[in-house]
């Protein structure tokens, strides 16, 4: 574990930072957390960073100094093991101080390996038992409507969670309740614990499934920031009385080609010297 590396140079939140720069920082925070443990769900984190950058720095309303502010948009992390990715986004959003990054996964850390609401500012729910997020999102969306709130509930879930029946109970319900304040984000990275997602349990064709459940559906390249911005804007502004979903096709380990090339990357083992290499590659590829 490297301790002497300088913190990332990072402009303050609120300044006019390009989303690609935000995504780069999120990837960098995640890699540094991965290095603390020497392993982890780093491929997912690298893959979803662009979606998180657009969520936290384009789409969502929130106050970094008051993570429970009533007027915030809610962001639910159904996939608890993506905590490393969300922590990186929360650090970039200045909800969590960057110097806590080195505590990732350690005793008494606010950043446990699987995301839990009671541990981390900005973590809305306890994920990890997969297939919970979308149902909770339905309840929160109903609750926001009861309160007359105009805020959105975002639920980030994985293609693996499409295997869970509870996801479809919630999907049918959201359509039935016409929850136009609910935006689902599915990370289709094509990989789950036992191998390729469609091989574990084929969920394709996916878009027509959600369409059939009365959702407003978009499918985009989840590593194309411009496409994501357009999709988030369309999701928020869609006039129909229906929930919205953005199916995000992402690339595992995006931004670090030698990790992208690894066949078994659901839970990546990275050799000690490879973290430096990964960070260096990330820094080289930084889009300013």
């Amino acid at each position: 574990m490297s301790t002497e590396r300088l913190p990332t140079e990072r402009p303050r939140a609120g300044s006019n930072v390009p989303l690609s720069e935000r995504a780069y920082h999120i990837r960098r925070h995640a890699l540094r957390m991965g290095e603390v443990q020497g392993q982890g769900y780093i491929a997912q984190a690298l893959g979803i960073s662009d979606v998180l950058a657009v969520s936290y720095f384009h789409a969502m309303t929130y106050r970094p100094e008051d993570p429970e502010w009533e007027g915030r948009d809610r962001f639910l992390l159904s996939i608890g093991h993506y905590a490393i990715a969300l922590y990186a986004a929360l650090i970039e959003a200045e909800i969590i101080p960057e110097d806590e990054l080195t505590s990732y996964g350690g005793d008494d850390s606010r950043l446990p390996m699987s995301g839990m609401a009671a541990y981390t500012p900005g973590m809305e729910i306890t994920g990890g038992s997969l297939g919970h997020g979308l149902g909770i999102a339905v309840g929160m969306a109903l609750g926001l409507k009861r309160k007359g709130s105009k805020n959105f509930v975002y639920n980030l879930f994985s293609d693996g969670e499409l295997d869970e029946g509870s996801t479809w109970e919630a999907a049918m319900s959201a359509g039935s309740f016409k929850l136009d304040n609910l935006i689902g984000l599915v990370d289709v990275n094509g990989m789950q614990a036992d191998g390729a997602s469609t091989g574990v349990l084929n969920f394709e064709p996916l878009a027509p499934k959600f369409e059939a459940f009365n959702w407003f559906v978009q499918r985009v390249d989840g590593n194309d920031i411009d496409a994501l911005v357009a999709a988030f804007d369309a999701a928020r502004n869609h006039p129909g009385p229906q929930p919205r979903i953005i199916i995000c096709d992402t690339r595992m380990a995006k931004g670090v080609p030698f990790l992208e090339a690894r066949e078994r990357n659901h839970f990546l083992r990275v050799e000690p010297d490879e973290w430096q290499r990964a960070l260096a590659i990330l820094d080289e590829g930084r889009v300013r």
């Binding site: 839990m116 609401a117 009671a118 809305e124 729910i125 306890t126 990890g128 038992s129 297939g131 919970h132 979308l134 149902g135 909770i136 999102a137 339905v138 309840g139 929160m140 969306a141 109903l142 609750g143 926001l144 009861r146 309160k147 029946g165 509870s166 109970e169 919630a170 049918m172 319900s173 039935s176």
Partner: protein, 340 residues
């Protein structure tokens, strides 16, 4: 032992047809009852608690929540026959500051939705109140509807308060108490025409408190739920045998009122019998046994359990089944006489 499904049963000999119908009331013929005490109590409470909302998984009519839905249609959410969603959505509503009462059958909450109650609700200590009809053996539909192990399933869940009320009088008091309690609550709901018993004993419910309903020198029955009603009937029946039966009602299964249980069980000269509408595994009986054991309290005349056997139970008429499995008044009285 159930007969083979290929063996035709003997023709019925006279008598009236007994029913296993879902609407069958627990009340004995002529017993005083109250209709839908849970539903009416919730409507009453909701007048002063705008945060209360109701959710059901296509069982509002069968959990008495339809009374609330009719009174407050805008505060009722029909979640469809989807218990995982029912619990997750209730968690979501609680996160937004509401106090959801979520209803279904005990089998579906305990068996199907456990993970969602555990992680989405209990782990976060959210204010979700789960009211479930058909606890233990309260239907003749067979194992698909008989929640004979719901307490065993739920007792291991941290943060969850578990209440097993005896009658309509108690349910009316439990509803505001569970809403006032901070954190998740599981209620073993008696629905429909619910017997009215404890009002005659001047009883008041207090969350977490076991209460002596009647005292007695020879036997102490520690009971919860409808078995307290049975225990009181047994006490009357055994009076003719000059057997003096005390009844300690323990409506809060968790957290258990250990101090009262230890004090009462530790009094000399009595047989201690725990009676529960639940399998003898993992319910009130074993909970009480654990408390006594840990404190080195051995009842002078022994410790016995009245409860359901560790089996998938038969379908049939409820009175027949209660008798068959030893939780009817007559069967209980027989057991206790035999132990003395």
């Amino acid at each position: 032992m159930r007969r083979s499904k290929y063996e035709k049963p003997a023709p019925r000999e006279g008598g009236s047809l007994k029913t296993s119908a879902m609407i069958a009331s627990l009340a004995a013929p002529g017993q005083r009852t109250k209709a839908a005490p849970f539903g009416h109590a919730l409507v009453e409470l909701a007048k002063t608690r705008p945060d209360i909302v109701g959710l059901s998984a296509d069982l509002s009519k069968y959990t008495d929540l339809h009374i609330f839905a009719q009174a407050h249609p805008e505060r009722f959410y029909q979640m469809g026959m989807a218990e995982q969603l029912l619990m997750s959505a209730a968690a979501g509503l609680a996160r937004e500051g509401f106090t959801p009462f979520a209803t279904t059958y005990a089998v579906f909450a305990a068996r199907r939705a456990y993970d969602f109650i555990c992680l989405a609700i209990a782990e976060e200590n959210l204010d979700v109140k789960i009211a479930c009809a058909l606890p233990g053996l309260t239907t003749g539909y067979g194992p698909s509807h008989q929640a004979t192990e719901d307490l065993a399933i739920f007792r291991g869940m941290p943060n969850l308060t578990i209440i097993d009320p005896c009658d309509a009088h108690e349910i009316e008091q439990v509803v505001p108490a569970m809403a006032a309690h901070k954190g998740p609550v599981y209620l073993r709901l008696l629905r429909g025409n619910v017997p009215l018993v404890l009002d005659e004993y001047g009883y008041t419910f207090e969350l977490g408190k076991a209460k002596t309903i009647r005292d007695g020198r020879d036997v102490l029955v520690i009971s919860s739920g409808l078995m307290t009603m049975r225990a009181l009937e047994v006490a009357d029946a055994l009076r003719d045998d000059r057997i003096d039966v005390a009844v300690l009602h323990v409506p809060t299964i968790k957290p258990l009122d250990e101090a009262t249980i230890l004090r009462e069980a530790g009094r000399g000269g009595r047989l201690v019998v725990v009676a529960e509408n639940h399998t003898v595994i993992g319910g009130l009986g074993e909970a009480v046994a654990g408390v006594l054991m840990r404190n080195g309290t051995m009842p002078e005349r022994g410790f016995r359990q009245i409860g359901l056997p560790d089996q998938f139970l038969d379908a049939g008429a409820l009175p027949t089944l209660h008798d068959r499995y030893g939780i009817s008044t007559a069967a209980m009285a027989r057991s206790i006489r035999g132990w003395l």
